[in-house]
Symmetry: C2
Subunit: 160 residues, 2 copies
């Protein structure tokens, strides 16, 4: 065990972040459920139709129905009609830019689960770099393009 990551720059811990202002809490309100995450996982894996989501997640119809509508309302998914030549109209759920931007969260969870919770290497999946074949993870980087170590983080609070 190493030293805990230290974040500075907040005067009083009670000043604000634990409330609704916290973007982490806000994110969790929307995608913090198991069902939402599993549906997003399948969206990244290429699912677009209702029955694909139910079959591949193992979630029940009503749950998938609710989550899809919530995610659509929030702007994470977009529902569109599409018609292949000679086929009838179908519904497709596609990731929006907002939805795609969540990919690192899923990749980070995947990587962490594989590293620390893998039930004896069996039956697990791996996300790899196409071509290169190496497993893909996630790395801290600031908007200036610098790689960031865990102990170089500051927490900044923007008061209202």
């Amino acid at each position: 065990m190493t030293e805990p990551i230290r974040m500075t720059g907040v005067l009083d811990p009670r000043d604000g972040w634990e409330a609704e202002g916290c973007p982490i809490a806000a994110s969790l309100e929307l995608v913090g459920t198991r069902s939402a995450m599993l549906i997003l996982r399948e969206a990244y894996y290429g699912a677009t139709r209702f029955d694909q989501f139910t079959a591949r997640t193992g979630l029940s119809d009503p749950v998938v129905s609710s989550r899809l509508r919530e995610l659509e309302a929030a702007g994470v998914l977009a529902r569109e009609d599409y018609r292949e030549p000679g086929q009838r109209t179908r519904k497709a759920y596609r990731l929006t830019e907002m939805g795609e931007d969540l990919l690192p969260v899923i990749v980070a969870l995947q990587r962490w689960g594989n590293r620390w919770l893998s039930p004896g290497e069996k039956g697990a999946t791996e996300i790899v770099h196409r071509g290169c074949g190496a497993e893909v993870g996630v790395r801290l980087e600031c908007d200036e393009g610098h790689p960031v170590a865990p102990d170089e983080l500051d927490l900044k609070y923007r008061p209202a």
Copy 2:
């Protein structure tokens, strides 16, 4: 909206990943609750004592108690006694290596929430690179050190 991220390399979608083998699902079993994430957030922000976790997360005592024990049992946190000179013994919860390794998940959620859910810029927090001051996010990278674009991902299934 752009094209969905495509993952290839799995023959039959039903072949395995949706079940217990999925490391994402496994991760969610452990840290997929709001309370677990908020407690981890505070651990990264420097909290170590019981009352810090309750005060800063707004969670009730019993919930904090349960989550702390679960996270400790799983190896994410370690409980240790410490004694400052002249003080009585106190309990401290510290992140293990396994726990620190989850940091990218929290940072990714924070960044996503800030970008897409920000409630009007007010009262929110930001994680910045110390010194440089730029906001910190997360970036896909493979074990070979290559930066990875979202459309360069392959899903690999390792059967039992």
